[in-house]
């Protein structure tokens, strides 16, 4: 039941219904946001979260229902009225003028001055006042085009605050941010709450709700489901309410059965737009039947690497071998014809022709075959049959979307079309770049299942993602890319978030077995059990157990590990023992590993970070010297 209208609540929306034509985007939805709290709105893609917020911000008009701000009925006809009611909104896609400064962007539309001339000094001071009040550090004179995405978001928040917003709506604020920027954002939000502001976040990321919010309203397919306090509810419960069924947040993965090397990248160099080497001496092998995940912070050469593999960019050195054949510095078709399939990072830019029908999009890679265009004529019957099959198999919704434009599908369904299309090409190597970006929990689960299914069919899968959890959950091996090369490779389950984060920042970690004790490790006994089943012999089991436990050391021929760093004696013993004793190998490994851990690890860790800091200091000094030189030149 909707709460009674009272001034305790900053925002109350009761009985909101919104139709688009005959489609009901929202049906009798309610929202009660207490003053001075952070309130999440959770829902799948297309559930109506954004529509509800757009109504609150006056971008849409509700067909039915009432809005109360601070207990008073408000008639919000347009964003101007919303701003007058103290509501500010930060859209997912920022609305900033690139070649204006931060200050100019913030005051745009409400510039201080006499109506003809803008009082620049006053504007700047006004901005600085808010900046210092909320700890939203940002350079007021920087151009928008020169600052990071995280900074741009701050400018958007400042823009709302400058206009006197008491209620802030953030539309998927973390979608574009790095992990560190997310932390900073959470901190900023806490500051704002302390100052008495109210924040509404639209999101489908369960973790962030837990980290930030006080309450959470769940919407499913335009229907109000529930409002719950975030404390004392688990992610699984939230996911279940959101999707309407129970969702498996942890990916069910079985040990891989790697075969031949399919992708072999040797000493690759690729330059970026600034003609600087973005990929340097990059080496990586991906075998049939395994998923290799590339983890790393955005901007460490992933884009250039993927472009080079897909022949969208020339490489300046090294080789890319696909099943032993060089494919580098050719055209995109060359790789595709030899069994390369890629799920691109940007589905709107690279994945789909949005104005084409779904039918046509499904055959974007197959249209040139004799099967689909005999004698140069597109066989439309065949195309439709193929597309309908794909739509059914991958559960693309709505089912009758075939003749409609692909741009009309929701993000998750667009991704299904792309994945279906790429897999239908029977690839030997499937590359998935950020395959779950912008998808909701249910859709993410689906994508992961599909990747694992392909792996089990014997396809080599290369996963590139900025989402640590994704890489850690799905990959059989995790390769960390840093500054254009592979920093280190970890087998599944041998590394935790924290360690991986450190390696991603350029650190190097010894493969000390002690780090297995963080909980993910409990998979190993299962592995041994399963592998010792009828179909797998004891040797295989031993290899796998060893591979799982201490693979850097294991000389197992079926699954040799790369990029090995220092190996502790315990791990070697463990692996060797595993190899000899077969089925019991895993037990040996588990038994021995924690013992060697604790003390040396901490020391080493500290040393490592010390080294890292020294390294950073050196780099900064170099930078400084460089800049001074340049300055001198300019003068």
């Amino acid at each position: 039941m909707a709460a009674e209208v009272s001034s305790e609540y900053a925002v109350q929306m009761h009985g909101i219904t919104k139709r688009f034509g005959s489609f009901y985007a929202l049906t009798d939805v309610q929202l009660d946001v207490k003053k001075g709290t952070i309130h999440s709105i959770l829902g799948e893609n297309g559930a109506g979260k954004s529509t509800l917020m757009n109504i609150l911000y006056g971008l849409y008009q509700a067909d039915e229902g009432e809005i109360f701000i601070n207990g008073k009925k408000a008639d919000i006809k347009n964003p101007t009225a919303a701003i007058a009611n103290g509501i500010g909104m930060v859209h997912q896609h920022f609305m900033l003028v690139d070649n204006f400064t931060v200050t100019q962007n913030i005051v745009l539309g409400s510039e201080p001055g006499n109506g003809i001339f803008v009082n620049g000094r006053k504007a700047r001071q006004g901005v600085l006042d808010i900046v210092s009040k909320y700890g939203l550090e940002v350079d007021p004179d920087a151009l928008i085009s020169d600052i990071s995405v995280g900074m741009q978001q701050r400018v958007e928040i400042l823009k709302a605050l400058y206009r006197g917003a008491e209620i802030l709506i953030l539309d998927e604020p973390t979608a574009v941010l790095t992990e560190q920027e997310i932390d900073e954002l959470l901190h900023i939000m806490k500051n704002l709450i302390e100052d008495g502001k109210t924040i509404i976040i639209i999101t489908h990321k369960l973790k962030e709700i837990q980290a930030s919010s006080d309450e959470c309203t769940i919407i499913r397919r335009g229907q109000y489901i529930d409002t719950v306090p975030v404390k004392g509810i688990t992610e699984d419960e939230l996911a279940e309410k959101m999707v309407g069924r129970s969702v498996n947040l942890v990916v069910d993965t079985t040990p891989p059965h790697p075969g031949e090397v399919v992708l072999d990248i040797q000493g690759l160099y690729v330059k970026n737009e600034q003609k600087i080497d973005a990929v340097k001496d990059f080496n990586l092998q991906v075998r049939a039947g395994e998923i290799v995940g590339i983890a790393g912070i955005d901007g460490n050469g992933q884009t250039e690497l993927m472009d080079a593999v897909n022949n969208l960019r020339k490489c300046s050195g090294g080789k890319i071998l696909l099943c032993g054949e060089e494919i580098q510095n050719k055209d995109p078709k060359y790789g595709i014809d030899r069994g390369l399939a890629t799920i691109p990072a940007d589905r709107h830019k690279d994945g789909l022709v949005l104005t084409f029908s779904v039918y046509e999009n499904t055959i974007l890679k197959k249209y040139r075959t004799e099967e689909f265009s005999p004698g140069g004529q597109i066989n439309r019957k065949k195309m439709k049959a193929f597309a309908n099959e794909l739509i059914r198999e991958y559960d693309v919704r709505p089912e009758d979307c075939g003749p409609k434009q692909a741009g009309g599908l929701s993000g998750g369904n667009q991704q299904k079309v792309i994945i279906g299309r790429e897999i239908a090409n029977d690839p030997k190597l499937l590359i998935a770049i950020q395959p779950t970006r912008g998808l909701d929990v249910g859709a993410i689960e689906n994508v992961h299942k599909m990747l694992i299914r392909e792996r089990d069919k014997g396809v080599a899968v290369l996963l590139v993602s900025y989402e640590l959890d994704e890489v850690m959950n799905v990959s059989d091996r995790i390769a960390v890319i840093y500054d254009g090369h592979i920093q280190q490779i970890f087998p599944h389950g041998t590394v935790d978030n924290r360690t991986l984060g450190r390696v991603m920042a350029g650190g190097e970690v010894e493969n000390v077995p002690g780090m297995h004790s963080e909980g993910i490790y409990d998979k190993v006994p299962d592995t041994a059990e399963e592998a010792s089943g009828p179909e797998a012999g004891p040797v295989r089991a031993a290899q796998e157990a060893a591979g799982e436990a201490a693979p850097e050391a294991a000389p197992a021929p079926a699954f040799p590990a790369e990029g090995s760093a220092l190996v502790s004696a315990a791990a070697v013993t463990g692996a060797a023992a595993a190899g000899m004793t077969g089925v019991t190998g895993s037990e040996t490994a588990t038994a021995e590993t924690p013992a060697a851990a604790a003390a040396p690890e901490t020391i080493m860790e500290m040393q490592q970070s010390l080294n890292l800091m020294q390294e950073n200091l050196k780099q900064m000094q170099k930078c400084l010297a460089d800049m001074q030189k340049r300055l001198a030149q300019m003068q």
Binding site: G21, S22, N310, L312, D331, P332, K333, I336, D337, T342, P344, K349, D350, G351, L352, V353, L354, T355, F356, E360, L364, K365, Y367, R368, S373, G376, Q377, I378, R380
Partner: protein, 386 residues
């Protein structure tokens, strides 16, 4: 259900075009009224002089044919993501080449015609392909290069007109093409005794065939529109070209040779303009090119045709006929009502303007619809309160 059907109706491009044309005429009527001419009368005269007599219809078709071709060329380019504003230049080049080749040839008829048309198509295609090449290789926008090439084509044409080898003394043009390349329908028979006698018995034929240069152009135009439509929508090549036009990144990603596609698309677009030019030279007197002081606007009118047709090849046939009709009927309006031809140009401008705005019509309908509904609801609520 009823609503969505209505909205669908107003989203149909054909309906939108018709609405734009009607609005164009309404506004044109207002302008006529302001200028002191009876609007209804004038527009009736305009339409009458377009389709009043068989001769008029025949003339309209002849006038439209080159515009249909340039329209097809532009529409094709738009479908493949290119804005071929160079249709004018490609058309001029086509005319010059057709005249040059046609005035030198003396072969049996089908061979001669084929050679003239093919050479015009080829050179125009190369002329346009150059624009495509510059875009594909160097990333220079096709609008800039093709506008410049329009001027180059104009002055190149004038220069060739003045060359001793081609210049016909005593005129401002080149030697006309030889008889063997004529694409008119029965051009010689209709002047023989027998032909004349036959036509006097059939007044319709006399009106059309006897009094105008009826030529095969429109038939070729219909075939070309069908072929282009098929090429775009049903073939491998067309699929590629459209994919590149709609999303060049995705096209590159799935392995389409994007650069080749751009050059090919421009070449086909240019070839269509060249074909129109060749048919104009071989089909219509004076069968030659004269020194031009300004653009004749056949290519630019093609841009308007493509817009009115929403870039549909089949639509270009009708849009081209409408356009040609307005141009031809404008002359009638001038002689019968005394309205200046500028009015016709205004009408054409307004129609194109409304076509460009017609994407607003569905939104307008939606707004009208929702405000009507909310009024109803308000009434209902008031009723409830009572």
């Amino acid at each position: 259900m009823e609503e969505s059907l209505m909205k669908k109706f107003f989203k149909n491009p054909f309906v939108l075009t018709v609405i734009a044309i009607i609005l164009g005429f309404v506004v044109a009527g207002l302008i006529l009224l302001l200028a002191g001419f009876p609007p209804v009368e004038s527009i009736r005269t305009l339409i009458e002089s377009m389709i009043g007599r068989p001769k008029d219809i025949s003339s309209v078709v002849i006038r439209s044919t080159p515009i249909i071709f340039t329209g097809l060329g532009v529409a094709f380019a738009i479908k493949t993501g290119l804005f071929n504003i160079g249709a004018e230049g490609q058309y001029i080049i086509g005319c010059v080449v057709a005249t040059m080749v046609g005035s030198m040839l003396d072969f049996p008829k089908p061979v001669a015609i084929l050679m003239v048309l093919l050479s015009a198509m080829l050179v125009s295609a190369l002329y346009a392909g150059f624009v495509g090449l510059l875009k594909a290789r160097l990333g220079i926008h096709e609008v800039i290069t093709s506008i410049m090439l329009n001027w180059i084509a104009l002055y190149l044409s004038n220069w060739i007109c003045g060359l001793q080898f081609f210049h016909k003394p005593g005129t401002i043009g080149m030697y006309p093409v030889n008889d063997c390349t004529y694409t008119m329908i029965l051009p010689f028979w209709k002047r023989t005794e027998e032909g004349r006698a036959f036509m006097t018995k059939h007044p319709f034929l006399q009106e059309t065939l006897g009094r105008t240069d009826v030529h095969a152009g429109i038939i070729v135009a219909i075939i070309a529109a069908l072929v282009i439509s098929h090429l775009l929508n049903r073939t491998r090549k067309g699929f590629e070209l459209r994919a590149v036009g709609q999303n060049i990144d995705a096209a590159r990603f799935v392995g389409i040779d994007v650069n080749k596609s751009i050059v090919h698309a421009m070449m086909i677009s240019g070839a269509l303009c060249g074909l129109g030019a060749g048919l104009y030279i071989t089909g219509q007197s004076p069968h030659t090119v004269s020194t031009l002081s300004a653009f004749e606007n056949v290519g630019f009118n093609g841009l308007s045709v493509a817009f009115i047709a929403f870039s549909s090849p089949i639509g270009c046939l009708f849009a081209g006929l409408l356009f040609g009709g307005l141009l031809y009927g404008g002359a009638g309006l001038q002689s019968k009502v005394g309205a200046p031809t500028e009015i016709i140009n205004i009408i054409i401008g307004i129609i194109v303007f409304f076509c460009a705005l017609s994407y607003l019509i569905p939104q307008f309908v939606e707004r009208l619809d929702s405000s009507r509904r909310s009024k109803k609801e308000r009434k209902k609520m008031k009723g409830g309160e009572k």
